[in-house]
Symmetry: C2
């Protein structure tokens, strides 16, 4: 389970180079809203309106563009039901769930230490 920097360099020797795919994906999932949306979807499928309420402070514009990016990355699926009124649901894909398995321990650690970290003298 322990991973070294050397291993990462083997898989993606270019992490530190501009335009490398790893950087691009990291920018998507590590973005301010990306993490929160992925996190919200971790405990199950949500509708557009539910997501909007769950992720407090996100604007419609940002929710839309974040979802489109994550969907294009294959991390999230969008399912639209032909009903009136319209219903659209978002969920993690298998890839997305794999990702979140790695992301949750990190977020958990941050949640545990965030108080200490922001509480220290500037």
């Amino acid at each position: 389970m322990t991973v070294s920097l050397a291993q990462i360099r083997e898989r993606s020797g270019e992490v530190f180079l501009e335009g490398c795919p790893t950087r691009v994906v990291l920018d998507h999932i590590m973005s301010k809203w990306g993490v929160l949306v992925l996190l919200a979807l971790t405990d199950g499928t949500l509708r557009w309106g539910e997501l909007r309420r769950e992720v407090e402070g996100i604007s419609e514009k940002m929710l839309a563009s974040t979802l489109r990016t994550l969907e294009a990355d294959g991390l999230v699926v969008r399912t639209s039901y032909p009903e009136v009124p319209p219903r659209v649901e978002y969920a993690l894909t298998d890839l997305g769930r794999e990702l979140m398995e790695r992301m949750l321990p990190l977020v958990d650690w941050v949640a545990e230490h965030a108080g200490t970290i922001t509480g220290r003298p500037a």
Copy 2:
């Protein structure tokens, strides 16, 4: 090792609320340059100039502000030697190393899958 969303909510029931400490710290470490700088420091102490070269594409301004943020968060230590010409070294703190233990598996996974992800049809 497995972590549930419920656990995270317990530690920080506010992850989804604006202004919550967890959000702030996540913004620091998950920022475009934050990850890369932390990653670069993972295999050891680096001087300013080395960091600048290692993290390709970063400007002096961004390197400076990223380092100051991470230092204020207690994740990075800055050591200045009173020499001429000046020498300054940056390294992870214990807290920073703990963080990277959780971050590396994630980055490793992304490095492994980045090609597939960005390669899919829009």
